[in-house]
């Protein structure tokens, strides 16, 4: 799938610079449009989560519908490691990603030989297992009351150390993580490994006959995606200064699917980012008017599945294909968004 054009070989693409640049300016104007810096933190964290999820759905064609489990495990691991082992930021984030990776490895070992609806359901079943355990292990996780009093430890870079207790500084920290994840994922999906993942998506049997160990690719990409989701979960625990089981529920696992699909994760690297931003902005914008915002977002999701499964990014690509040649303005925008 040559969907990334000539940018594929670059370490940092113009689109990345544009997106991170716009996001970096967010604290300057977010107050003027009636929002607050915290939503920026949420958008960036969920964008990391959705990007890692899309490694499975969009790139490998694996429907992982219980992915909230790994996000939640990351959040709990962050808090528990901080409170019981080491308080530093880096070990805690490593613990978040590590614990989620471990859970991902175990689950992947059970499901990587499956496909289609069976794969989808087995991921749901494992997701429910982790969710039930999180709720019922009251002594460890605090059950439904959540794991409270998680600290925002300072980001210590040896020479300088940043205090992250303020929302704006935490925002810049998660944005930094986001930038690193973007570069890493972009390299990954455009590497030979990423190409094989896309071959698995197109036709698993054919990929196997060509000689690739499909099981190993499905296994490793699941663990990788779980690890990154866990990292996002760790950041989320920091943002919320607590961890709750509801992010592991079937609903929340569904939200990341909705974000990714509406944004256009099926056809574009940037789909999950667009979707995460739209989802959270819609939550606040529609949520300000009616408590039933999920009703409207659910209807939008149904419309997207029915009429435009390629999502917003796919719609944008169509638009460019039709009008790009005639309109130089759009052609210039194309440089920004790649796609």
């Amino acid at each position: 799938m040559a969907r990334h054009g000539s940018d594929a070989t670059q370490l940092v693409t113009p689109a990345m610079l544009a997106v991170v640049g716009v996001l970096a300016s967010l604290p300057l104007w977010i107050g003027q449009v009636g929002l607050y810096p915290y939503i920026g933190i949420e958008i960036v964290i969920w964008a990391i989560y959705a990007l890692s999820f899309n490694l499975l759905l969009g790139y490998t064609g694996l429907p992982s519908f219980g992915h909230g489990a790994y996000f939640g495990i990351g959040a709990y691991a962050f808090g528990l490691f901080q409170q019981n082992v080491l308080p530093g930021l880096w070990p805690c984030l490593a613990a978040a990603a590590g614990a989620a990776a471990l859970a991902g490895l175990v689950v992947a070992a059970f499901i990587s030989h499956r496909r289609g609806i069976y794969y989808a359901f087995m991921t749901i079943a494992f997701g429910q297992v982790f969710w039930v355990v999180a709720i019922k292990s009251h002594a460890i996780t605090g059950g439904e009351d959540g794991l409270l009093r998680i600290q925002r430890a300072p980001a210590d870079f040896g020479i300088v150390s940043f205090d992250l207790r303020d929302n704006v500084s935490l925002y810049y920290f998660v944005l930094g993580v986001f930038a690193v994840v973007l570069v890493a994922l972009w390299r990954l999906v455009n590497s030979p490994y990423g190409r094989i993942l896309q071959a698995v998506k197109q036709n698993e049997t054919r990929a196997a006959f060509v000689g690739y160990n499909v099981w190993l690719y499905k296994f490793s990409v699941f663990a990788l995606s779980a690890a990154l989701s866990g990292l996002a979960g760790g950041l989320f625990a920091m943002a919320q200064t607590s961890a709750f089981p509801d992010v592991m529920s079937l609903h929340y696992s569904g939200y990341v699917v909705m974000m990714t699909l509406i944004g256009g994760g099926i056809v574009s690297f940037w789909g999950p980012v667009i979707g995460a931003a739209l989802f959270l902005l819609a939550r606040d914008a529609i949520g300000a008017v009616t408590t039933a915002w999920m009703l409207w977002f659910g209807l939008l999701f149904m419309l997207v599945v029915l009429f435009k499964p390629e999502g917003i990014a796919g719609w944008w690509q169509d638009l460019r294909r039709e009008g790009g040649a005639r309109r130089p303005g759009l052609a210039r925008l194309r440089m920004l968004f790649g796609g």
């Binding site: 429907p63 999920m294 009703l295």
Partner: protein, 305 residues
């Protein structure tokens, strides 16, 4: 510890699980279509039944007062007919959307019905709020009875008997009418079925509606045990899906056996660790599916692709 009561409890619970999965199984088995909105329609059925029984209808006050004078047993019976039919109408509307995904990757149907589940659940919250409701049942099927020096809930036996009846009915529909075979064939080769002069579009609509009707019936039967709340949809659809995967897609008796097995495992593990009994069904599923990829007696299905 005497396990017998737990086993009996488990079997009645298992029959309830089988009832919950029945409509889901009908749609999966005949149409090769996952309906994740099954749980929300199950909840909708329970809410509508509550509306009918408790007379909270948008009607003139005098009519409602008249209606409440009718004995509870009659109101309950009316709810058992009216609520599933109304829910089936909602199911028909859903089918009009879902039909666009037939013949595509089964994931689209799954995603679409997931969205529908969200929408229906939100509608329920919007109309009825987040509080719990209790569905009143006639005194003849509520209360308890003494047996083996233990108190048993009469309602559980009524619910189990109802489940057996519904299971028999669906079996007759699939095995003793031509519709089962026609729709099943349609899932595999709709062109040929249509060429034989069969109106597949309409048949699928009816089957989907029948599945929805069964979901609503299950909701009404389960409501007095679980309580009526917005989350009951999710609580129902995950076990339903689990039972189908455990029993094997496309196998009627596999699913019924899986339902009873799940009930037994939940019931017996509940005797030892009630907090963790919900977990036991997932462990059962993982244990079975690890060794038998298609569940207890599954056949090859389009859904594996």
């Amino acid at each position: 510890m005497n396990l017998l009561p737990h086993i009996l409890n488990g079997i009645t619970l298992g029959l309830l699980f089988a009832l919950i999965a029945l409509g889901f199984m009908l749609v999966v088995g005949l149409m090769e279509q996952i309906n994740l909105a099954h749980g929300s329609l199950f909840a909708l059925g329970a809410y509508l039944a509550f509306v009918v029984v408790s007379g909270r209808l948008p009607l003139p006050v005098e009519w409602v007062r008249e209606w409440l004078l009718v004995p509870l047993a009659w109101r309950y019976a009316a709810a058992l007919v009216v609520a599933p039919l109304l829910t089936a109408l909602a199911g028909m509307v859903l089918e009009l959307c879902v039909r666009r995904t037939y013949g595509k990757d089964p994931l689209y149907g799954l995603l679409l019905t997931f969205g529908a589940a969200m929408v229906i659940e939100e509608l329920i919250r919007l109309v009825w709020g987040t509080r719990d409701y209790v569905l009143p049942v006639p005194p003849s099927i509520s209360g308890g009875m003494i047996f083996w020096d233990l108190i048993w809930s009469t309602y559980r036996f009524y619910a189990a008997a109802f489940s057996i009846g519904a299971i028999g009915l669906v079996w007759l529909f699939i095995e003793r009418t031509p519709y089962g075979a026609i729709i099943k064939a349609g899932a595999h080769d709709s062109e040929i079925v249509r060429a034989l002069g069969i109106d597949l579009t309409r048949l699928r609509l009816y089957v989907f509606a029948f599945g929805t009707l069964l979901a609503a019936l299950a909701g009404i039967i389960v409501a007095p045990i679980w309580g009526i709340r917005p989350h009951m949809g999710v609580d129902a659809v995950v076990p339903a899906f689990l039972i189908i995967v455990l029993g094997g897609v496309g196998s009627f008796w596999g699913a019924v056996a899986a339902g009873i097995l799940v009930g037994l495992v939940v019931g017996v593990s509940g005797a030892y660790a009630s907090e963790w009994s919900l977990l036991s069904m997932y462990i059962l599923l993982i244990a079975v599916v690890t060794f038998r990829a298609r569940g207890l007696s599954g056949k090859k299905s389009l859904l594996e692709a």
